[in-house]
Symmetry: C2
Subunit: 286 residues, 2 copies
């Protein structure tokens, strides 16, 4: 079945960093008309020079003509941005965001703007900012939408159509399920890795451990040693789901520790065998 | 300063798998005369065909003429092998091993053979067996020797000289310090990763978690989803050090969890900042 024809859409993008810039790149290339908004005029000028936006402004009011807005600010700025933006949009406009935690944010955003569709593209790279923007960043990557029962179906369809054009793999989830899943696969690994590093640095064998650490330690600790500000935001915005995941993890680790303390090597090997067999389902295409 | 001239040595290697085969390859290339011993005659024949050994046998008695023996069997076979080997060696022969846990093994091996020098090359790859043997596997990788105060200095020097010829970075540690360090950087990450996988597979959000898991989850869980038999052996042979590391880790994770539960975001960020700053010292060259 051929893909449906692309209907050119007037798209606003607030926040021209890695995600906003990469969205602008791909959506511009698809033939849509892009309005960019950045707090900094230099970023607006750069986006215009790179021809990834057709219009750019530091003023949210400039988005009055658009059909769909992607809010690509840091998570703490999403609701304040939407609150200000709401005064300028026409009532049919659809607003979506790219925040990594959805839960209460989706409820609050929907109160501000009924045609809000929560979104979370699971794409990223270590670098930040417009200079890190990359074509096809979202291709073959998961992109989750978290509509509420009250979200108008045509608003969801409009965002869905754009996301399919990015080549993403679309998932629909309710906001709380989304937050629990990202707590498990994204936020929990950060806390485990950071705790592993602290365990080593507070050990009498710290120096020898540093000398002997190899690729296994490097991989296990990678996200735990990542950007601390991002890690704090994960904990802050996804606190209940992360605490539940941590409690569940502590009980799993305690089970394994008990098997080791009991010298029950068959139980230890069964536990590790299940992990070995279950892992491939989590890392397909990752 | 030029490296000291290589004095050709008669070297026995018991166990021609990844480590034994790779040692044979490099030491043969350095001009030493190599006696290989494998349980299987087909492995002996293959090692001879590949010209990585000069002599090969399934019989430990064949090692009577050698000056230095590397025991490269699985860890459970090291002491039985040494026990049988001791009857065939001349008293001046030095014996070393490549087991990943040292502790009581070094004490027991020294009782069987006073000129025993515990060793642990921190080199590996996913594949096993002679077909996986690789030249320069030990180059620029840590190689730990764990002599006891009673170990003859000339025996340590003889093994040291060979290890330097492999291009390894040599470390000397006492056996218990070694075991604590590898518990932290090698065995603990396996248990954390396996527990992370179990946390996800026993969660109601397992399916969504699988769909959304990305490179961060892949890396954090890699060694946890590794060879379960190797994982069991780590726990079995390094039980006290691993249990101490797990207890220490649990207390570190509890500190971080408490900061999140307290909504003390500054404390969370400080914890993550320390992890971020401390990690580079563990991953230099890894």
């Amino acid at each position: 079945m051929p893909p449906p024809p692309i209907i050119p859409t007037r798209i606003g993008i607030v926040g021209l960093g890695l995600i906003g810039g990469s969205l602008a790149l791909d959506l511009c290339a698809q033939g849509h008309e892009i309005w960019g908004v950045s707090r900094r005029d230099t970023t607006c000028q750069r986006a215009l020079q790179q021809s990834i936006v057709h219009h750019a402004s530091t003023n949210l009011a400039s988005l009055a003509p658009v059909d769909v807005v992607f809010i690509c600010t840091p998570i703490s700025a999403i609701l304040p941005t939407l609150s200000e933006l709401a005064a300028h949009l026409t009532p049919t406009t659809v607003v979506t965001d790219v925040g990594s935690v959805k839960g209460s944010l989706v409820t609050q955003a929907t109160e501000l703007w009924p045609r809000f569709v929560g979104g979370h593209p699971m794409s990223g790279k270590a670098e930040a900012g417009l200079t890190a923007a990359t074509p096809h960043l979202f291709q073959q990557r998961p992109y989750v939408l978290t509509p509420l029962p009250s979200t108008p179906a045509d608003a969801v369809e409009q965002v869905t159509a754009l996301i399919r054009q990015l080549g993403s793999t679309l998932y629909i989830a309710n906001p709380d399920d989304h937050d629990q899943a990202v707590a498990l696969i994204s936020h929990l690994p950060v806390m485990l890795g950071a705790s592993l590093l602290h365990t080593c640095t507070t050990s009498p064998q710290q120096t020898l451990a540093q000398q002997l650490a190899s690729s296994g330690f490097k991989d296990t600790s990678r996200v735990g040693g990542g950007n601390p500000e991002l890690g704090r935001l994960m904990a802050q915005y996804n606190q209940p789901a992360l605490l539940a995941a941590l409690a569940h993890y502590q009980s799993q680790l305690t089970q394994l520790t008990q098997a080791i303390a009991d010298s029950d090597w068959n139980r230890v090997e069964s536990y590790l065998t299940a992990a070995h067999q279950d892992r491939p389902a989590f890392v397909t295409g990752a």
